[in-house]
């Protein structure tokens, strides 16, 4: 990866994080899980997927499915930065005059399918991948899941079926930020050794630092990893990445900050003074 490209990706990622912070006030959003997958979403749209604002209805395009759903501010920020949607729409967050809310809506260009109920989109993506296979078309189908989402049996059910149908055009990226909603995954329903689990289910697995663009590029470049297996990338990430005052904190899942606080978080993002957060934690959504 050239230095220019890396800097350009990092610059987009920084802007996406600004948009996420912007959406964490006035009703709030699932800020931690959005910040953890920024590099993944930015890289996929900028470099990997054959998707652009002009081919959104074209059956030849690649597909990205955001299965955990509540990380949608990362997607909307990226779609805004890359020209899929007008950035001014982000200001419509939680207003009924638009479709920008806590989970993805298909009315937003670039959103392939709604999600929010965990464990659905691996199967929907497998259906798309199967159709591409039936038509012998080269589309890449990528699903981003949460790690807590892997509690859902339907994820594993789908992996069994997708491997039975040898869907090597399907790639599952796990945003391994170590947290369920309110607690560390390993303290509630342990997932490790996670690579072994996916391998036992027939997948080819790579594990990377999900905030490192060069590692993301390297992992995606090799797809399909083998002739006939579902590709899995476990992307180790940090919930709340970029904002040390909320990073990897169990009680910073859904956050509704005051405008004063988001102003401070914006400063913190840019490496200035750390924010002082007074808003309550653990708001249940």
């Amino acid at each position: 990866m050239t230095k220019d490209k890396l800097e350009s990706l990092q610059s987009v990622a920084l802007k996406v994080r600004e948009h996420i912070i912007g959406m964490s006030t006035g009703g709030g959003c699932f800020i931690g899980a959005s910040l953890s997958c920024v590099e993944l979403v930015v890289y996929l749209y900028s470099e990997f997927l054959n998707i652009d604002p002009s081919n959104l209805k074209n059956p030849d395009r690649d597909y990205l499915f955001l299965s955990k759903g509540h990380d949608v501010p990362a997607l909307y920020g990226t779609l805004g930065e890359l020209g899929f949607i007008d950035l001014s729409r982000l200001k419509n967050h939680l207003l009924t005059n638009d479709s920008v809310y806590w989970h993805p809506n298909r009315n937003i260009p670039g959103v392939e399918f709604h999600s929010g109920s965990l464990g659905h989109l691996p199967s929907v993506a497998a259906g798309v991948a199967l159709d591409c296979r039936l038509k012998d078309e080269p589309n890449q189908i990528v699903v981003i899941t949460g790690d807590g989402e892997l509690n859902e049996g339907s994820v594993w059910e789908t992996i069994l079926v997708a491997n039975a149908y040898k869907l090597n055009n399907l790639t599952i990226i796990v945003d391994r930020n170590q947290f369920q909603a309110n607690i560390r995954t390993e303290e509630l329903v342990p997932l490790e050794p996670l690579e072994d689990k996916f391998k036992a289910f027939g997948c080819e697995v790579k594990r990377i630092n999900g905030h490192n663009f060069m590692e993301i590029e390297e992992a995606l470049k090799g797809i399909p990893y083998t002739g006939n297996k579902v590709n899995v990338i476990i992307a180790d990430t940090v919930r709340g990445k970029g904002l040390p005052s909320i990073e990897a904190k169990a009680d910073r899942w859904f956050c509704a900050f005051t405008e004063k606080e988001t102003g401070q978080l914006m400063e913190e993002l840019h490496g200035h003074a750390k924010a002082f957060i007074e808003s309550e934690t653990l708001i249940v959504r």
């Binding site: 059956p59 298909r106 392939e112 399918f113 709604h114 109920s117 464990g119 659905h120 989109l121 691996p122 199967s123 929907v124 993506a125 497998a126 259906g127 798309v128 991948a129 199967l130 159709d131 591409c132 039936l134 339907s154 059910e157 789908t158 069994l160 079926v161 039975a164 149908y165």
Partner: protein, 313 residues
């Protein structure tokens, strides 16, 4: 032409059709060799099958999806509601052995709340064929609508030559002054026999009995329900479904909407039925022609109809 033959022919004429099953091949036994890769068996995975059907539908396919009715509608319910329902995708659900047709399987296999939960999904169409002839007459319509649809698959041979299927219309088999049966599914056969008993039985000259085969429960034929109330003294609703959420509830909603009331006898299930061979079940649960006729006769002769409602026409 039976179910499988019609499905194969439709799929051969229309590339958009894919046939899916969660390893329930009873209805689609010859599909693998005849349809090739467009036959998709996902194994015993109702949720994944429905999710994949949504993905296939996003790519322009029309998935016709097979599983036992209880596992299709209940194990995969949230996938149907969220992936087929919210997106209003044309996923066609074929539920096998619904209602009493699960006979000896036991309550795990009894889909007797399926109509209630499927019709609760906005946009979902619900069909209840009386027999194979009725099924085959409605399938071409079902498979070409742009909406998700649930079919209570019933391919038992019947003794009745059904009228051509009309979308949104029930089938009027007979009209009656005294009572009108509203019925769906395979119980139509028993109701037709009960009608013959009622014609001859009793101390009076017998009853004039109407029989309506509802066919489509959603969207329901409201006009036929209203006309049945107008044209006869009482309704009898017979269904192999829980007392809540099925045809009785649909009729109640319809009558309330139109500010109409009527004496109604409900013959339905209040709990899971006793498993056994179908005829044993019907006898035990009181759904044989004789038992249906007996209940109707007692209801009609009790005098409550005329006294309570003053409808002695």
């Amino acid at each position: 032409m039976g179910y499988e033959e019609l499905l194969l022919q439709t799929a051969q004429d229309d590339e958009r059709i894919v046939v899916m099953t969660a390893e329930n091949r009873a209805l689609v036994r010859n599909m693998p060799k005849n349809l090739g890769a467009r036959f998709i068996d996902t194994g015993i995975t109702e949720q994944t099958m429905v999710g994949m059907a949504a993905g296939l539908a996003l790519r322009g396919r029309i998935p016709v999806v097979h599983a036992l009715a209880p596992f299709l509608t209940m194990r995969a319910f949230e996938f149907i509601r969220t992936d087929a329902g919210i997106a209003n995708l044309p996923i066609k659900l074929s539920g096998f052995i619904p209602g009493f047709l699960s006979d000896g399987n036991g309550p795990t296999h009894q889909a007797i709340e399926d109509i209630s939960i499927m019709r609760g999904i906005p946009g979902m169409e619900v069909y209840c064929p009386a027999d194979e002839d009725d099924l085959v007459k409605m399938l071409p319509h079902i498979w070409q609508t742009p909406n998700p649809a649930y079919v209570r698959i019933n391919h038992k041979k019947g003794n009745y030559d059904h009228a051509p299927f009309e979308p949104g219309k029930a089938e009027v088999i007979s009209e009656g002054r005294h009572i009108t049966f509203l019925v769906h599914g395979f119980l139509l056969g028993n109701v037709l026999e009960a009608k013959e008993i009622l014609k001859d039985e009793g101390d009076a000259a017998g009853l004039s009995v109407g029989v309506i085969n509802m066919r489509t429960l959603k969207p329901v034929d409201e006009e036929i329900i209203i006309n049945s109330v107008k044209n006869s003294e009482a309704l009898v609703i017979v269904e192999d479904h829980f007392a809540t959420g099925g045809l009785y509830s649909i009729v109640a909603e319809t009558l309330l909407k139109h500010r109409i009331t009527a004496p109604v006898l409900q013959i339905a299930l209040n709990k899971w039925f006793k498993p056994g061979l179908l005829n044993e079940v019907l006898e035990f649960e009181g759904f044989t022609p004789a038992k249906i006729a007996h209940k109707v006769n007692a209801f009609y002769r009790s005098g409550t109809i005329a006294e309570t409602f003053g409808l002695n026409k």
